[in-house]
Each structure stands twice: as structure tokens, then as C-alpha cells.
Symmetry: C2
Subunit: 130 residues, 2 copies
DNA sequence: CTGTATCCCCAGAGATACTG
DNA sequence: CAGTATCTCTGGGGATACAG
């Protein structure tokens, strides 16, 4: 029997993978996937350890790729909210099998996830019933 | 209705993505996915433009991650063959939805694939009936 | 609060020559 | 044939200070 991977070429990934592989990108996407909308400093705190420059750079790239969207409110002090686009949400869906595979490989200790992404309560990997 | 991505945390990817995002890694995996077993210089030719050092580095990393395997034959001149491990093949399977998503996003011009990965005849993206 | 503006560092990647 | 040994360069990423 023929598997999907027998016919597939991984080349289309070349473009997007350089984006989603950037240091914090996946984490940011994951976080936004769980929180719906977040402000700049919220993301900084959750990530814990990222510099404002790195965060700005990453957010801009994700935005340029159409994975997240930025909404600025003309207030003082300024308020800006980030959220996933529809495309970004579809990415999350498309990436599920890959995550499952990675979890299986690593034998997924839930605490590792906690340590890596900084989720304390909200991280799905720490919930029951998986 | 709840989607898979509502519950999933992308953190487990952190480890593997730094490997498979390395410049040539995905391409090599894809190529090995299509050719079963290949020798060092064969890979170099197919990729076209990679330096021996970069290829060596990448192959070693992929091997260390258990995605490909190396078989050396004690002959003169030496012969070494690379192939995907079972884990590597499973990666190919797991990555299919992501590739489909990327193709859809990019509106997949088949020639782009050709240009990127160097497949001339063998590239599935150039076949009919997709 | 939400970012810029600078400066610095180092690992990834290329080019090239050479070896068992 | 299948790499190794060097050298170099670029840019991603961190730290820090400052601005609108």
C-alpha cells in the first residue's frame, strides 16, 4: 500500500519553515492559539526572557507572513493587541500531526513543555484527559 | 465545536524544529524519501550547490536525531549509503498536512518546487494526477 | 505601554584545499 | 569516494538605553 509520504515533496515547506522555526515563532503562535488576543507586554511576560527587539522582529515577520494580525488602538497609553489570523489558525491545525509525532518521540514529559513555553496553568499539555 | 488546535501546545516542536529547519535538512529528507538510499555525492548532485561541509554537518545532525541512517561499506573506493529510518519515514507522514497547507498558501507553482529541490523527473510535485 | 536604536556576539553556512 | 580542515562572512538574537 502506498503512503502519502511516497508522493509528497517537502519543498513547499522551504518558505514557511524559515519563518516558523525562528527562535520564538512557534511559541508565540502557540500562545496566541490559547489566549485569543494578547498585548505586547503580555507576550513578553509569558515568554519570559525574550528581548523587546526579538519580540518585535518576530511579530513583524509573523505578521508579514499573514499568520498573526496586529490591532492598534489610538489611546494613551497605547494599546496593541495581537491575535492569530485564520491562516494562522489553519497552521495550528495542520501542525497537529507533527506535534503528536514529536511528543511520541520525546516521550513527552509534560514538565518539559512547561519549562519551555512558560505556560503555567493554561498549557494544554498539563491538563488531564489527554 | 472544538478543534484539535484548541488543545494542542506547540512546545514539543521546539526540539525537532531546530533540526529540520536547518537550510538543507527538509530537502535531504524529502530526497531520501523518494530515493530510498543514496550516496554522499549523489545527494550533493541532486541538491546542487551545497558544500561538502554543510552536507556532512546536516547529515550528522539528522543521523543524531535518528531520522536517517548511515551505512558504510568497507570497500575501495569507499561506499556509504544514506536512507531514512522508520522514524524519518514517520516524520514524512506527520508532515503531510503541513505541506498541504503550505502548498495551498503559496498556490503551489510546481516549477518552484523543481527549482528549489532540484528534482528533475522524480519530484512528485511535477507528476500528473495530484 | 509599545516599541526603536545601538552595539555586540556567535553559530550556521559557504568556499576552497586537502586526505585516507 | 567520502569526507575533513580552515577561513571567512553574514545575520539572527541578546542586552541595554531611550523615545512617542
Amino acid at each position: 500500500m502506498e503512503k502519502d509520504s511516497d508522493r509528497i515533496c517537502l519543498c513547499p515547506l522551504e518558505g514557511i519553515i524559515t519563518t516558523i522555526a525562528k527562535k520564538w515563532a512557534i511559541l508565540i503562535i502557540s500562545i496566541l492559539g490559547h489566549h485569543e488576543r494578547l498585548r505586547f507586554n503580555d507576550i513578553m511576560e509569558i515568554l519570559g526572557g525574550i528581548s523587546p527587539k526579538s519580540l518585535t522582529d518576530t511579530l513583524k515577520e509573523l505578521q508579514r507572513e499573514g499568520l498573526i494580525q496586529r490591532e492598534a488602538f489610538p489611546e494613551i497609553p497605547p494599546r496593541v493587541e495581537y491575535s492569530l489570523t485564520e491562516d494562522g489558525r489553519q497552521l495550528c491545525e495542520a501542525i497537529v500531526p507533527l506535534v503528536r509525532w514529536a511528543e511520541k518521540r520525546d516521550n513527552l514529559p509534560a514538565k518539559t513543555c512547561h519549562a519551555t513555553c512558560g505556560f503555567s496553568e493554561g498549557c494544554p499539555s498539563r491538563r488531564e484527559g489527554r
